[in-house]
């Protein structure tokens, strides 16, 4: 085994990989932004009274849940420009990051719509009733009482979804976008496909530390925002 395994490749790969986290973060950040907006819209559709829009939103979520990311990515990467070309818009010059962000946003939106919906539903209806009974308007009741509480419930699931998103780098690489995962592939190619194991171990260490940091960050956030929630109190 020593013949093939050389731990120095692990330590050398890490500093080479780290700068490419920038791309990972950029893609994840944009996807979270757009995906959350989409998720909010879908959640509103699901919670609303209109049967048709409920069905559309649920159908969309099912399709997204059932489609492997790589398939979705290719359909977007080649399908979207093909559609836009009919309107005389040429998207072929767009950076591949653009398509990656679209793909991830569509997926993230489906995930978030469920997160938002269940968070909303977890808030006792009595909170709304109490709010209007002391004279708050509908909007005020949602803005000041319901949403702040639903937000705390949604946080951990939001963190999980974010973690999933960060790990999709392998996907972005297939259309040439170089994030940490892509850089690892390039390093391996630079070594003529040898010592790939060590490089991937280095890569997984980075991902691991990153995910632990994100987890901790969300735990902190939850603590900060959950003032007044029951589980703070130890019986």
């Amino acid at each position: 085994m020593e013949k093939y395994f050389d731990a120095t490749y692990i330590w050398e790969s890490i500093p080479a990989l780290l700068p490419f986290l920038k791309v990972t973060f950029m893609v994840a950040g944009l996807s979270v932004l757009f995906g959350s907006l989409l998720g909010l819209l879908l959640a509103i559709m699901k919670l609303g009274k209109n049967k048709l829009s409920q069905q559309i939103a649920h159908g969309y979520t099912t399709v997204m849940r059932c489609t492997p990311s790589i398939v979705l990515l290719f359909l977007i990467y080649y399908g979207v420009p093909a559609i836009f070309i009919n309107f005389g818009i040429n998207l072929n010059d767009m950076s591949s990051a653009f398509f990656v962000v679209i793909t991830f946003s569509l997926q993230f939106g489906a995930l978030m719509s469920e997160v938002i919906r269940s968070a909303y539903e977890s808030i006792d209806k009595g909170q709304y009733e109490a709010a209007v009974s002391v004279g708050l308007s509908n909007t005020q009741a949602y803005g000041r009482i319901i949403f702040p509480q639903a937000f705390v419930v949604a946080l951990p699931n939001f963190g999980n979804a974010l973690l999933e998103l960060m790990k999709e780098g392998a996907l972005a690489y297939t259309i040439g976008l170089i994030d940490v995962m892509g850089k690892a592939n390039l390093i391996i190619a630079g070594n003529y496909n040898s010592h790939a194991l060590e490089i991937y171990i280095g890569l997984s260490l980075i991902y691991w530390v990153l995910s632990i940091m994100i987890e901790q960050f969300f735990l902190k956030l939850e603590k900060i925002f959950s003032k007044g929630r029951k589980d703070l109190k130890t019986a």
Partner: protein
């Protein structure tokens, strides 16, 4: 002060209220009794528009409203004159005790913040929670939470406070403290409409007891008469079940 006429309400197939009338004078304490499912909660919720009645009218001093077709403005106007105390408190979990009380004053009634805090503190002191301003609901006992609920209602100085079984979610030992507070408020002349199973409260504090069953008012009258001399057979049957007939110990 408040007059309710001919409220009807069904949920799908089940009719819950079928023509309830009610008169409450200024300063009255009216207690509503009745078996489970008789529509007591629904009645209170319809008055406060938490539920939309199928039919019925409410006359609130100078305001007269169709309970089925009230406009948003009318609803807001009536909600300004009422306050609700919920069975399971329904305090705002994300707000401190003080904020729970000021929320409706500052945001709902547009009272300046400082004035609102003053009012809120007054109300909280009345229910003996002067040391809990900054606590969160989760940090309070059930009895304390319900007292905040009452302070929240009192602070709005509504024309009438609606109580829906305010003590039934409490441990037996905590019931006393909440009833005590309700008595105090009643003595100050607050108009109250109270759904409760606490017979002692009905007997001691109410001017009028209303007994509901199957979505209609079966019998009403002053408490002494109601308990000692119920006219209707249904009322008697109910009282027999609820009052431990052999409970006559003195201490």
């Amino acid at each position: 002060m408040l007059e309710i006429q001919n409220i009807h309400k069904s949920f799908g197939e089940t009719t819950v209220l079928s023509g309830v009338d009610l008169q409450i004078g200024k300063g009255d304490v009216v207690v509503v009794l009745g078996p489970s499912g008789s529509g007591k909660t629904t009645l209170l919720r319809c008055i406060n528009f938490l539920e939309k009645a199928d039919k019925g009218e409410a006359i609130f001093g100078d305001i007269q409203v169709d309970l089925h077709q009230a406009s948003k403005k009318q609803i807001q106007a009536i909600r300004k004159r009422t306050a609700f105390v919920f069975q399971n408190y329904n305090l705002f979990n994300n707000k401190t005790v003080l904020e729970n009380v000021t929320e409706g004053l500052i945001i709902g009634r547009k009272i300046p913040k400082e004035k609102a805090i003053e009012i809120a503190k007054n109300a909280l002191n009345k229910v003996e929670l002067e040391d809990k301003y900054t606590a969160y609901p989760a940090e309070l006992s059930g009895g304390q939470q319900q007292r905040v609920g009452i302070a929240r209602a009192v602070a709005l100085s509504p024309d009438i406070i609606l109580f829906d079984e305010p003590t039934s979610a409490l441990d037996p030992e905590l019931v006393g403290e909440v009833l005590e507070v309700m008595k105090t408020i009643a003595k100050e002349g607050t108009t109250m409409l109270v759904v409760t199973h606490e017979m002692s409260f009905a007997k001691d504090v109410a001017n009028k007891v209303v007994f509901m069953d199957g979505g209609v008012v079966v019998e009403e009258g002053p408490p002494k008469e109601f308990f000692e001399n119920p006219k209707e057979e249904r009322t008697r049957k109910f009282l027999r079940r609820v009052l431990p007939d052999d409970f006559i110990y003195h201490i």
